[in-house]
Symmetry: C2
Subunit: 95 residues, 2 copies
DNA sequence: CAAAACAGTTTATATTATAAACCAATTTAT
DNA sequence: ATAAATTGGTTTATAATATAAACTGTTTTG
């Protein structure tokens, strides 16, 4: 009847992050923060969770002298997102 | 950019309950439990939350000698569900 | 009549999301 | 030059949430 929803993706902020990453090659912390309007702390935590799950890959380094974190979606993340969207459909009113 | 998701609806079980109720005039506790495969406790709690929010109306009584709980979606619930579905779209990959 | 089943409710627990507090470096202002 | 603010984050604390376990009262069934 209802397909279980991947709890990692069924989260407002993580879903927003994935939504941003799916259509872009890569995005940095500052960009994600701006687009999601999340606090740094929250964003940092959720990026870590997506990264630990293998849904995104994260590169931390320096841009000049400032720290710089870049995220990109992995193939696994892409698959998970597609599966999540499919699963969601089982909950949504048809048409 | 992203429309906030009503936290009351952004919950697997509550969304399933709403999904069942939207297409049916009314549904009882046993039916919802069977269709959602939730535990009684969880279902009871989530029904209460939806009811407190005014998203569903709940009638508790007796069917013969057995307790019998019936739920139906309110107009407010219907509106909230539609708004939630619209909001969700801002997070989902287009097309 | 004891045990299992029905239809739930209440309570406890474990997880989660989120923000607050913090850190290290760098600008900017005085 | 140095104090204050800003940048780009991380860590930790707290509040909220979801969920299951335990319980209640009635009613069948063995």
């Amino acid at each position: 009847m209802f397909t279980p929803l991947d709890p990692l993706l069924h989260s407002e902020l993580r879903l927003a992050i994935m939504s941003l990453l799916v259509s872009v090659d890569e995005a940095d912390f500052v960009y994600l923060k701006e687009k999601t309007a999340a606090t740094s702390g929250n964003l940092s935590v959720q990026i870590d969770k997506l990264s630990s799950a293998g849904y995104i890959s994260v590169t931390k380094g320096y841009e000049g002298k400032r720290p710089h974190t870049t995220c990109r979606m992995t193939q696994q993340g892409r698959n998970a997102l597609m599966a999540y969207v499919e699963a969601l459909k089982s909950y949504l009113p048809k048409q």
